[in-house]
């Protein structure tokens, strides 16, 4: 009897979302990054980024806070503890899969 292969978190296992989570995880804990800087680092369109962020937010991996500074709206995005844990889990599962493949 063989165990079924472990499953990769489908919320993270999409290139754009994997990159978003890895970039957010590179920030010091409880720091946030502005939407525009994140967009610049990823090279995604604003619409695309919003769609992926919404998916991550629905899973509870990411929070985004809107603020107004001098009239301009600013969105700050950060990784939640659940998101950091999910990335660790994803990374561990990935290593397991690569080890199995040999």
């Amino acid at each position: 009897m063989t165990e079924p292969p472990p499953e990769l978190d489908p919320v993270i296992h999409v290139p754009a979302r994997l990159r978003i989570v890895v970039i957010l995880a590179a920030l010091p804990v409880s720091d946030s990054i502005s939407f525009s800087r994140l967009q610049e680092l990823l090279g995604l369109t604003a619409g695309n980024l919003i769609t992926h962020l919404r998916k991550l937010q629905e899973a509870g991996y990411v929070t985004s806070v809107k603020s107004r500074q001098g009239g301009a709206a600013r969105t700050a995005v950060s990784l939640t503890h659940a998101g950091r844990a999910a990335l660790q889990q994803y990374s561990a599962t990935l290593r397991q899969l690569l080890d199995q493949a040999g």
Partner: protein, 200 residues
């Protein structure tokens, strides 16, 4: 996306994020090293033949101040480019650290004014004006090392404190040469060391 591709994408993104978000310390050390080496070196040249010692001429002071302001400008560009859009505790740490510079130097200039007011000789003022900034800078670097857990900042700061004390014993003229070579040189050596170590 298969596991290999995912692992490669993670590694590449992580590298990209680290290099985009990290402050490149060699780019900070380089202008400071150059400013001190050239500025203090020029000041030393301007006073080394003075018999008796009269203190550096205004032109030498202006050159040093311009070079130091240029170093401040380069530092701000390097730091802002890395930390743009990043908010939270690390931004507050950076802001408080940034404030330690004007606080330290304002207090030092205040003390220099008081010494001059209370009859300190040109020799003593030359020592305080030369060693003081090196010591203040060194201590702020040690503070930065504690904030960012960076040993290059710690060793540079500790080294500058030693340079300040040793230079003070050498007197107001040789102090400038020691500050230029050991202080400015220390920054340049650390910049070179880090650049070589982080070369891919």
């Amino acid at each position: 996306m298969d596991p290999q591709e995912a692992a490669a994408l993670m590694a590449a993104t992580s590298r990209q994020a680290r290099s985009a978000l990290a402050i490149r310390l060699p780019l900070v050390y380089l202008p400071w090293g150059a400013a001190w080496l050239i500025g203090l070196g020029a000041m030393w040249l301007s006073v080394r033949d003075q018999r008796p010692y009269q203190g550096p001429p205004a032109a030498a002071v202006v050159v040093l101040v311009i070079l130091l302001l240029a170093a401040v400008g380069v530092t701000m560009v390097v730091v802002t480019r890395a930390t743009r859009g990043v908010h939270g505790p690390s931004a507050v740490q950076g802001r408080i650290y940034g404030l330690s510079w004007p606080i330290g130097f304002a207090a030092l200039f205040g003390i220099e004014g008081a010494l001059s007011q209370h009859g300190a000789s040109g020799q003593v003022l030359g020592i305080v004006a030369g060693a003081g900034p090196i010591l203040v800078t060194g201590l702020i670097y040690v503070l930065g090392a504690a904030i960012w857990l960076d040993w290059s900042m710690f060793w540079l700061g500790a080294w500058l404190a030693v340079v300040a004390a040793a230079g003070a014993w050498a007197g107001p003229v040789s102090l400038l040469l020691i500050g230029a070579l050991a202080g400015g040189g220390g920054f340049l050596a650390m910049a070179g060391f880090l650049a070589l170590r982080h070369r891919p």
